[in-house]
């Protein structure tokens, strides 16, 4: 066992995951594994089940069938905050800032309730404070630390959303359409932030519609169509896959 390189052991493995809403099959028998350190792009047309998959993996929704292993541990039955404490983090498609709290306090929540809730040494109040400002500096929001989220622009809101997810000190981060509605330069900014996080050792799953962003970011691409995984492989191969072309461009 010790001879095997660590990277070949998947950080996340999803086996036969299925989710239905009444009679509608949102996810059908999804198999997926994510290696540590990977940058995975998850694409698919609207309504193909991308966000549902993230919701099932992060515990916001509960899948009826299948099981999920994270770092060798079964996630089935754990509720969202327990998964966060294990090292799964997410940003929301529509930013959900704590709108009555200042930016610093927005980041204080995950530091106190996720990082300090883990076993081992805890951050002191002063350390939490420093860490909040450090995180805000990393995403370029340091000078707005005492402001409320409503004072932020759209791109700043996305950055706050990412910073709050990163504050939980995750090993795996789901960035759910972190760039929707942003201008090309703003997209570049967010990608730069994500790449740096990945270099720091966070495995990232990027759910995105902007193909240029996905292609420049991902080392692997997974395509969902109507709740089924239809492709999984290197980005340049996947986009040439006829099935994927058909899903995106029609017959």
């Amino acid at each position: 066992m010790s001879e095997r390189p660590l990277l070949s052991v998947p950080l996340l493995s999803v086996n036969g995951l299925g989710k239905r809403f009444g009679g509608f099959v949102a996810l059908d028998n999804i198999e997926l594994s994510v290696a540590a350190g990977e940058r995975l792009g998850l694409i698919g047309p609207n309504g193909s089940g991308k966000s549902t998959l993230v919701n099932c993996l992060c515990g916001t929704l509960h899948n009826e069938t299948g099981s999920v292993l994270f770092d060798g541990q079964k996630l089935d039955g754990l509720i969202a905050h327990q998964r966060t404490r294990l090292g799964l983090a997410r940003s929301f498609q529509l930013p959900k800032p704590f709108h009555t709290l200042s930016l610093v306090d927005n980041l204080r929540v995950p530091l106190i309730y996720a990082v300090n809730a883990r076993p081992g040494p805890h951050l002191s109040l002063a350390e939490v404070e420093t860490r909040c400002h450090e995180l805000l500096r990393q995403v370029g929001l340091a000078d707005k630390a005492r402001r409320l989220p409503r004072d932020l622009t759209q791109v700043e809101m996305r950055k706050l959303e990412l910073a709050r997810a990163v504050a939980t000190q995750p090993r795996l981060l789901f960035a759910d359409e972190a760039m929707a509605g942003l201008s090309p330069t703003e997209v570049e900014e967010i990608i730069a932030v994500l790449l740096r996080l990945n270099e720091e050792g966070i495995t990232i799953v990027l759910i995105e519609h902007i193909m240029r962003a996905v292609m420049s970011f991902s080392t692997r691409l997974v395509v969902l169509v109507a709740g089924q995984k239809i492709a999984d492989g290197l980005p340049q191969d996947v986009v040439r896959n006829p099935e994927v072309e058909r899903a995106y461009l029609g017959e």
Binding site: T60, A80, I112
Partner: protein
């Protein structure tokens, strides 16, 4: 201000009030009126721990309050019961103990209700708590030991501890409880618990994603809120001396304990205090000078007025003005440097 300095200040304010009232309240009526205002400080502060901090609107104040009152009524009859059944003579139970018991019973009710209803959100939670009042009231109406729908007469002990009349004693206890309730609310507000509550209020899904155990925190809020309401209700039998379901489950308690934080401001401990002093005093004045039926009309009109003019209450109004001034100063400073 640090927590302990706040507690000391609050205690000092309480003592000053106590001394001043003994000097200036020449007529017993003033104690009766002040007791009601203090009772509303406790009720609205308790309500605000759940409603203002975590954002769950509770219309069941009446239930928690009355449960506190009725647990006192049961305890009041307890010595007679033990005498009749076991022939053991027991002394009457002191009121502070009754308040503690009332708090525990209502706290357990809060925990149970929370567990059953916290999956509901927004207006559905409010409806469930309203239904709780009806259910609990029905139980009390059908419980003969505490008088059923006839109600029950409670005879006050002949002499009050601490000197003065019995109403002074009730007033003192409620003042102490108000100081404790406000102290608890403010301590929570500044603690990590308060931060978790605020996260839940702002966005529950995001709070979960940030690691906040939302269900556990909400249960803490319902339990604490219910317990304080029960403690506020425990002295009621001795205040009114005649306890009946119709008046102790009165909807006015629920309406007032929602209206007071809304008018004062829900995000801060001082909001409910301001709201209940303001509204409580106006109601007492109106009762004496105009009519007791006018109370709810005043509440209604004030609520409408505040929702239109200051949706974040008096505290929100002051904060907005302060922020505007700070913004203007900032702009001025930038102009000067430029």
């Amino acid at each position: 201000m640090r927590n302990w300095t706040f507690w000391i200040t609050a205690a000092a304010v309480g003592i000053v009030f106590l001394v001043l009232s003994r000097v200036f309240f020449t007529n017993e009526y003033y104690f009766f009126a002040a007791y009601v205002v203090l009772q509303y400080i406790v009720l609205s502060t308790a309500w605000n721990i759940l409603g203002g901090y975590t954002g769950y609107i509770n219309f069941g104040t009446g239930a928690f309050f009355a449960i506190g009152a009725y647990s006192s009524a049961v305890l009041h009859k307890m010595p007679a019961l033990t005498e009749a059944w076991f022939g053991i003579h027991t002394p009457p139970i002191p009121l502070p103990v009754m308040m503690l018991v009332g708090g525990i019973v209502s706290g357990v009710l809060g925990l149970g209700t929370g567990y059953l209803t916290l999956r509901l959100r927004g207006v559905f939670f409010a409806i469930a708590t309203l239904a709780l009042t009806v259910v609990v009231q029905t139980l009390i109406v059908n419980w003969d030991y505490v008088g059923g729908s006839r109600g029950i007469y409670i005879i006050r002990p002949a002499d009050a501890p601490l000197g003065g009349g019995y109403i002074q004693y009730l007033y003192t206890l409620m003042l102490v409880l108000a100081v404790i309730a406000v102290g608890i609310a403010r301590t929570i507000e500044r603690s990590t618990l308060g931060l978790g509550f605020a996260a839940i209020r702002d966005d529950e899904q995001a709070a979960e994603a940030a690691g906040v155990p939302t269900l556990r925190l909400k249960l803490i809020a319902t339990t604490l809120s219910g317990a304080l309401m029960g403690m506020a209700g425990a002295p009621l039998p001795y205040y009114v001396t005649y306890l009946d379901p119709a008046s102790s489950f009165n909807l006015a308690y629920a309406v007032n304990s929602v209206a007071m934080p809304v008018i004062g401001g829900m995000t801060s401990w001082i909001g409910p205090v301001i709201g209940s002093i303001l509204l409580g005093t106006i109601q007492q004045l109106a009762t004496v000078t105009i009519s007791s039926a006018l109370n709810l009309l005043i509440v209604g009109l004030l609520l409408i007025g505040f929702v239109i003019i200051a949706p974040n209450g008096i505290v929100g109004l002051v904060r907005a003005r302060r922020r505007k001034r700070a913004g203007a100063l900032e702009a001025l400073a930038q102009e000067r440097t430029a």
